[in-house]
Amino acid sequence: MTRERVAGRPRLLIPQTAGFVYCSGCHEPLVARAIAEALEELGMGDKTIGVFDIGCNSFLLGMLDIDSVLTPHGRPPDMATAIKHVYPDNIVFTVQGDGGLLAIGADPLLGVLTRAEKITIMMLNNAVYGTTGGQMAPTSLVGQKTTTTPEGRDVIKSGFPIHAAEMIATFKGTAYSARGAVNNPYNYERTRKYIKVAFDKQINKAGFSFVEILVACPANWRLSPIDSLKWMEERMIPEFPLGEFKNVDKIE
């Protein structure tokens, strides 16, 4: 009988001995863990290159024990494209925030979708710009108070949140698009599987793969970590439903 490893720290997760950089209640370290677990299960840690954006997600660069690059703000899809063309047998993924992918990074995202690049993009959606202090993001909810929408996001002035996973699923070059969350063990487990499937699409050269992950940002939501979980359940998940929006083995 083979013994299954069911607990413990993933080997690809670097111990944060110099101090932990994330705010209390932040979900991003859980995403790092989910990525590390998915890569370990696939046995691909040595053949993976991570591409990280400017923003809180760049701290993940210090958490995952894989070859990594940091890009100018919004440009991870470009760098990942080039790296994937040079090393087609590597897994090449990006981690980006909602602003980094959907605002400043919309140009490289559309480029990647148009060319059907065989890379994986993971977008952390916390409905604000986290690192810079909680400004309105493309994914901010209608009515959500941020430092640049002090009266709440007004649809007449600033439109509606973008639903990235649904939008990306409509592109023919997309092999996989899903949205997960890490707010409870069940959702964490589902998200880890989404990430693994997305990487699998690269290994099988199926097409572009995308995973959006809802993450809490208590510091900028101006809520306690516990209340953030509640806000996630009551506001974020109803606006951004979880699940798979596309899953095909071959693009055509």
């Binding site: 993976t48 660069l61 690059v69 100018p72 470009d78 090393y87």
Partner: protein, 361 residues
């Protein structure tokens, strides 16, 4: 092994990159550099090398960043407005110390400008171009042959200094069709790229590699000051060792023209015309627009030579000549306002330069 061809400067860049071992090219359409991008689209896939038509110049330069981070030789090309778009990442690559080659086939500006020839990106190329303290070596071809040879040199210098290298061309040099010899030039060994991001499994020590452009995130340097010190020393090393220029009839010259690119060819013609009139004229043709031959010009100025900057812009290169002479000598200027026609097809021609030489003799 060498091969003779009758091709444009823009295409010669492709052959230079090929024999230099460039493995990837990223490009976006913009006039007047389209022949470069089309050349790579046509030839590179046949060689099993990477070509990607990008969604913008931002895409081109950031794909170049990605490819260069893997340690391969890679390049992109653009023209003035696209070159402007690339500057944030040029600055990032200077910080990250990534070897790569970028071609700017200059067109007119400011703004969208005319799509034909001009030389108005001199400041932007020679001063770094983006934010922060850095310099790039800037090579200035003046023939199709040099487009091929300086592209090879660019890859060597990029690897030697772990720094981006810029080639400043223009629409005339780019579209000029000449016979060239494609010959691989051996510049000697370059440093090992142990820093390359390739996937942990490819590293002998099994340790991860991280490529970043913040400088202090992962202790590449012990401090910000140390990073700046390294950049400063590198800039000084490049200035000391990589100056290249062609001195044409300057030994006895009382009036020395200073030019690069297409206006340098025109200037040479003007020097010959002046010599037949008995005027002792000469030419310093920049092969590196940066480093600039300040010392050479200063020496000539103190020996009594006067100077005439010739450039297809309102006056950028002339500032460097003025800095070099330190008020020791008169500095004249033939500029874009001296074109033979006021339209965007107008060029600086030898007779205009000669007329200026005659007023300065």
């Amino acid at each position: 092994m060498s091969e003779r061809m009758f091709i444009e400067g823009n295409e010669a860049i492709g052959w230079g990159a090929t024999v230099a071992g460039c493995q990837a090219f990223f490009g976006y359409p913009i006039t007047p550099q389209n022949e470069i991008t089309e050349w790579f689209a046509r030839e590179f896939p046949k060689m099993g090398r990477v070509f990607v038509q990008t969604q913008s110049e931002l895409g081109s330069i950031n794909m170049l960043y990605g490819a260069a981070a893997t340690g391969i030789r890679a390049m992109t090309s653009s023209s003035s407005p696209g070159w402007s778009l690339m500057q944030e990442t040029m600055s990032d690559m200077a910080n990250a110390e990534l070897p790569c080659v970028v071609i700017d086939v200059q067109r007119g500006g400011p703004g969208g400008g005319p799509i034909r020839h001009a030389q108005q990106d001199y400041f932007q190329c020679t001063r770094g171009g983006g934010h922060g303290d850095y310099r790039n070596i800037v090579l200035a071809p003046a023939s199709a042959q040099e487009c091929c040879d300086l592209t090879q040199l660019a890859f060597y210098l990029a690897d030697k200094y772990r720094n981006p290298v810029v080639i400043i061309s223009d629409a005339i040099i780019g579209r000029l069709r000449e016979t060239i010899e494609v010959k691989k030039i051996d510049f000697g060994p370059v440093p090992d790229k142990d820093w390359a991001v390739t996937g942990k499994g490819r590293h002998k020590d099994g340790k991860r590699r991280v490529m970043e452009h913040a400088g202090d995130l992962f202790a590449r340097y012990p401090s910000y000051q140390a990073l700046l010190l390294n950049l400063d020393q590198k800039i000084k090393r490049m200035q000391k060792s990589e100056l290249r220029y062609e001195g044409y009839k300057i030994e006895d010259a009382e009036l020395i023209l200073v030019a690069y690119g297409y206006t340098a060819r025109v200037s040479k013609e003007a020097v010959n015309m002046a010599r037949t009139e008995g005027i002792k004229a000469g030419l310093i043709r920049l092969i590196t627009a940066w480093p600039f031959p300040y010392e050479v010009i200063r020496q000539k100025a103190s020996q009594g030579s006067r100077f005439l900057a010739v450039e297809d812009s309102l006056g950028q290169l002339v500032d460097d000549v003025r800095v070099a002479v330190e008020s020791r000598a008169e500095v004249g200027l033939v500029n874009i306002l001296d074109r033979h026609m006021p339209t965007d097809g107008g060029m600086i021609l030898p007779d205009k330069i000669l007329a200026k030489i005659e007023t300065m003799k």
